[in-house]
Symmetry: D2
Subunit: 140 residues, 4 copies
């Protein structure tokens, strides 16, 4: 199962070297991840209203080609693996169908005290159900 | 009464035109305002723990000279006026003692429902006490 | 003549008070302005390749209602006035057709040395031609 | 050889979950790296004036403890390894002498066309000279 999300890079995301700042990619991954979760019925704002949070435990990005302002990219996210307490995602950032960066994030779920808790039951079941499917979802 | 806060501009705050992005100035004003409040005994994190928030109601900035990355600036804030429910601040951004931008912000205080409330008693008293003083405070 | 641009607010644009940070609105105005210019045949990246820049000279925003993450807004921009050397824009930010913030920006055009120059001929002519029209353009 | 840089986290860098957004750490690493380079006589703005850029090729961050606004952190950077064309750095983010995150970045040097070039001669020599030293440098 993979999910694709379209983003247009912003002028404000560039740096004085003329390209998109490398920290902006982290925001692209997050935006895509949140839309992916939503497509699986897991709305981050509803989750956080219940005082359940899904922080990033680790992340990595490899930058292959520079990105410029006002370019259209598609961020593709796939579930690498997950357990009752951990979720690992892979990402590819595509421009004109060419991969210009890829990355990973790992997540846990925590309560209001930032103590680890199990992945919410419904979300876990949905991940389980979708795991074997080969379909590609898109957000926008 | 005025308060000065030193900031060094960041590489990440530049844009592809080679200068500091105009939205970064808004963050400089906020950082200075929060340090100013702290110098008056009003810690924003303590305030927000009590579910009291101090949102920006309006702001304006006039940009006189471009700013570059890794430049040292001093943001000077003064209280223009305040009432039981509104606080108006003026700012000047100085580089090498030259004013390169100035601005204003207005604030109210709100509760957890974002309903307006009176300025916290202690903070109001401190503003009152400092109002007539001519001294200049600095943060760092 | 007015121009409307759709934006979805991002999780990363929120602050610890739970609402969209006030500096993010500045980026929304810029994104809308750039799309508006593009709709008038003025592509900012082409302009900047010719070493012509369009900095913000001043701006103001008035915040009426708090914005939350993952909300859909429409930013409406209109030309307030313009001369050979200055362009003044008005903005309204709408959520569910309700205005939740409005603002203004003024701009000049400068060369690579950041010295003021006249508004590019073609862009000036287009602004002139569109000025009297009543139509509403949209970007996305 | 290691280098330490002090940073105070900003209110604007928080998210609605009440902690510093994970993308802000990337900016902390960059700010520290730029100060580290400066301490070695390599000023990024001078470098970029000569149309030499030092993009991030890959990065990783592991988040151990949440960070809050207005906290003081020290970012420690060490050179893991370097060749004529690649520089690998390690980072630790410390709060009250406790490591709350660590990370890595790899860099190459490129020309105005973003084509890889060798590390500038002087910078390479300085890295070489400092490599075996055990001292700790600090920026602020």
């Amino acid at each position: 199962m993979s999910f694709q999300h379209r983003i247009q890079t912003r002028y404000a995301e560039t740096g004085q070297d003329g390209i998109i700042h490398h920290s902006s990619y982290i925001v692209y991954l997050e935006e895509t991840r949140i839309e992916f979760f939503k497509s699986l019925g897991c709305h981050i704002n509803l989750l956080e209203q219940e005082k359940i949070f899904c922080p990033v435990v680790d992340l990595s990005v490899r930058y292959l080609k520079p990105l410029h302002s006002l370019e259209e990219i598609f961020v593709e996210v796939t579930v690498e693996k997950f357990s009752r307490v951990r979720l690992c995602l892979n990402y590819r950032i595509l421009r004109n169908q060419l991969c210009i960066a890829h990355g990973t994030t790992s997540h846990c779920f925590v309560n209001a005290m930032f103590k680890p808790i199990a992945i919410p039951q419904d979300f876990f079941a949905t991940l389980k159900a979708f795991q074997s499917q080969e379909k590609i979802l898109t957000s926008n």
